[in-house]
Subunit: 133 residues, 4 copies
């Protein structure tokens, strides 16, 4: 499952080097996940209200070239794998045809007390992988 | 009641003009309030755990001169007035003797459902003003 | 001159109270100004590249009701007044028909060294007010 | 070379789950690098003023347990390797004896136009590794 969103770079996301601060990209990754889930007809807001929390347990980002203030960039988010309790996404950020940043995350499914719990069938609009976890 | 904290300006708090972004200062005001309360032996964390939330309902900031990356600045926070349900603070931010930014906030005391509630006596380490609110 | 933008509330813009942190709204005000200027055919990015910087010198925000994660809110930005060196905007943030937050800013026009300079005619797509400044 | 800083968790760094948002930790890593360099008698601010920029080209973070609002946490930053044009750091974040988060970064040395340049001898208060880069 894959989705794409456009993002207009905010002034406050940029630093004195005149480029997007490296901590802004994972914020956009989170937006990518939110919209990817929405495209299946579900929302993280409803999941949280139902007591199903998704916490980032691993983040990797590779920065190839910087985005700049007022750039209109495109984030492509891919749901790579849904395991019993973990979910993997990958990310590619483009400005036009230029690939600026790539990344990946692993999310864990938690209950309200922060304990690992199984992801309910179809919670992400897709069946868990047989070998997942 | 008045207190003072030192803040080292973070790189990501600065923008392409090379100065602190104007939205960083109210973040520091919040830190000033947190530490002012701590100096009375109470903490916002404990207040929240007890179901007493303080929400900002009014913010004013005047920017006279910018702080810059790696500056060590000093924030002076003053509790101006404690009313029945509202609390006023003022702020002065200095770099050395130079006054860079001033501001003020009004907080409202809320319960967990977001309804106004009376501030318990002594909650801020000071008695409510007779005429407050 | 007036413009309007829609904003999807980001997860990281919300705080432990479950609502948008009060410092996120002025970030959105800045986005409102950026898009208002773009609607005239100019951009802040080009203005900055030309050595014309606009710095916030005054900010006021009144919080009436909170926005929440994943809300789709609408920001209406109004250019209130263009003076010789200062520019005033006002802001109204809505969720549906509900007015959540209002605010205002004063910007000063600066050169690259941070000195006040006159705003060139038509820089904001409108003539300076006769009495402005 | 290794250094350690204490950080008080800010309210706005926490999200609706009541824990620190995952994008706040790399901000702290940057603070760790800043203070590690300061401990050698140099500063990033001076390096930037001299036209030597350090850009993050790779970031990895592993989240084991969350920090919370008002926690006083300790970040241990280690300079792992200094190559010809790349610099590696690792990070461990503790609350008391509990290891909450680990991470690593690779920085590249750039000139003002964003081109890779060699790191001057001793720029980080340590000699480049013979095999580095």
């Amino acid at each position: 499952m894959q989705g794409s969103i456009d993002i207009r770079v905010r002034y406050c996301e940029c630093d004195p080097m005149g480029v997007v601060h490296h901590t802004a990209y994972p914020v956009w990754f989170e937006m990518g996940r939110t919209e990817l889930l929405r495209s299946t007809g579900r929302t993280y807001r409803d999941m949280e209200a139902a007591g199903l929390l998704l916490a980032v347990v691993k983040l990797e980002v590779t920065y190839r070239a910087p985005a700049r203030y007022d750039d209109l960039v495109t984030l492509r988010t891919t749901l790579e794998r849904v395991g019993a309790v973990k979910i993997q996404h990958s990310y590619e950020l483009f400005r036009g045809d230029d690939l600026l940043v790539t990344g990946s995350t692993v999310l864990a499914c938690l209950d309200r007390d922060g304990r690992a719990r199984a992801l309910p069938d179809g919670a992400l609009g897709t069946a868990p992988s047989a070998s997942g976890g």
